[in-house]
Amino acid sequence: MNNEAFSSLEGISVQVENPELETGNFQSILMEIKFSLEQLLEQKKSHIIDLRAMPWSPGEEHKLEKYLGKGEVHIELDALGKSTFYETSYSGIWVVTHYSEDGAVIAKAIEITYMPEMVFSQDEEIKDSLERFEKL
């Protein structure tokens, strides 16, 4: 199987020929995001929406990403394949995509948070860093 061919397909922008062909999830997710933003501000509570857990019509997911736009912060992580984190044009709303080592999307989510948890340095590894410094 040529995985590169699959990956490169994602680079082709999808144009929906029939705007009627929508599941209605687009509107539902916008409502969930709005509610989660309120929770983030008032209760400091983060929320993750797994985009792989719901049905989409062709191009509908792309429409959501286009609607949210891209903001100022883009982060790339290299662990078990690439992961990308970018804040959308709406502050506090992040799009997180995890790829396998051959470039296939293995998880995709919208995170409503100040900063996706995985970006922070992890305590276990900070301890390891300290031990290495102590040996210097």
């Binding site: 029939n18 792989r52 078990l80 998880a107």
Partner: protein, 365 residues
């Protein structure tokens, strides 16, 4: 049971903490659990040990094993497979001959009471000679292997419900695993073949939590088979509006309207194709323009033509649709009931597929 934990194994492979969290995130999504469960999954996996798995292939076409083994390594499915101890799979070990059989016996002995058995294919009872492995009948091998098993996962419709071998007239007397196994938990993972992520999702659940997932009345994990294809279909809004493709090349088909009248079995089929999709989530049958065949349901081969609608949405449908204004669930249930009845009638009459069923100009009855 391998004494090394999954986390230790990943660490040895140079996987960072972030990599581990990423693995847990993908796994949580794979198991269709809410994202809030990621820390729980991470915590469980830190101490999870690799389970021993014995995979038995009986009357099958190897499509189920292909579905999983040909999935795109090194995706999360590949990683899961790295983290179970697959001690026996005779299709893969055929060249090993007698040594493979000893490996199975050794795995049973070493992991007694803890190992998982995966079965693909049905078991012939009419004459054991229809399917044997190393001179042993499928029934004998199943019974012997199950003695110390913690649970059985019946992968594919043949194993879960008898499938193609059991279709009328069932010359081999094929039966499902669950019709034979009464003293162990049996998890049915039907599909022809099942979605690879569903197979690995079930393995991942056991790996993570050490237990079997919640099952429906047909023994299927609710997390993957809890909703019908129809209810999760992106073409559902067209069904609700009464807009149907009548042939595979008419305007309705081109506009992506509902495929119900072309024989789609989505309303009576419970599976995760509409969300998990196939081939790295590229597409799934309905998105590719073909109705669902209902391959994860019992007796789907004997339910009449794949191209005849189970019930036509202008008879009982109209009445059901009236109720649907109040609740879509009622519509699903009402049409589902009509479909089940039609399916039972088709099965009883054993309607054969004719060349007319493939005609693009056919009229629905």
């Amino acid at each position: 049971m391998n004494e090394q934990t999954l986390f230790e194994l990943l660490q040895q492979q140079g996987v960072s903490r972030r990599g581990f969290l990423k693995y847990c995130t993908a796994l949580t999504s794979l198991m269709a659990l809410p994202a809030s469960m990621i820390p729980t999954v991470a915590h469980a996996l830190e101490s999870a040990r690799r389970p021993s798995v014995i995979w038995l292939s009986f009357q099958e076409c190897t499509g189920c094993a292909e579905s999983l083994l040909r999935s795109h390594s090194p995706t999360i499915e590949g990683l899961i497979f790295d983290h179970i101890s697959l001690d026996y799979q005779h299709t893969l070990q055929a060249a090993a001959g007698d040594a493979a059989e000893h490996a199975r016996e050794q795995a049973i002995k070493d992991n007694y009471g803890k190992y998982l058995v995966v079965v693909d294919g049905s078991i012939p009872l009419a004459d054991p000679g229809y399917s044997t492995i190393a001179g042993m009948s499928n029934l004998d091998m199943l019974n012997e292997t199950l003695t110390g098993a913690a649970a059985v996962i019946a992968v594919g419709t043949c194993s879960a419900y008898g499938g193609l071998p059991q279709a009328d007239p069932n010359p081999t007397g094929a039966v499902s695993v669950s019709s034979l196994v009464k003293d162990k938990p049996v998890i049915n993972v039907p599909g022809c073949p099942p979605i690879p992520t569903v197979i690995t999702g079930v393995l991942a659940h056991y790996l993570t939590f050490g237990s079997i997932p919640e099952l429906d009345s047909l023994g299927r994990p609710k997390v993957f088979y809890g909703q019908s294809i129809h209810d999760r279909c992106y073409r559902r809004p067209f069904y609700d509006k009464g807009l149907f493709a009548e042939t595979f090349d008419d305007e309705g088909a081109k506009k992506g309207w509902c495929l119900y009248r072309l024989g789609c079995k989505g309303p009576m089929t419970y599976n995760a194709c509409a969300t998990l999709k196939w081939n790295q989530q590229t597409s799934w049958p309905v998105e590719s323009g073909h109705g669902c065949l209902g391959c994860s349901e019992p007796d789907f081969w004997d339910a009449g033509s794949f191209y005849n609608a189970l019930s036509i949405p202008d008879g009982d449908y109209t009445r059901a649709a009236g109720y649907a204004v109040a609740t879509g669930v009622v519509l699903g249930a009402a049409v589902g009931f009509t479909n089940q009845k039609t399916k039972a009638t088709a099965a009883a009459q054993h309607t054969n597929v004719t060349v007319d069923d493939f005609s693009l100009n056919k009229k629905n009855k």
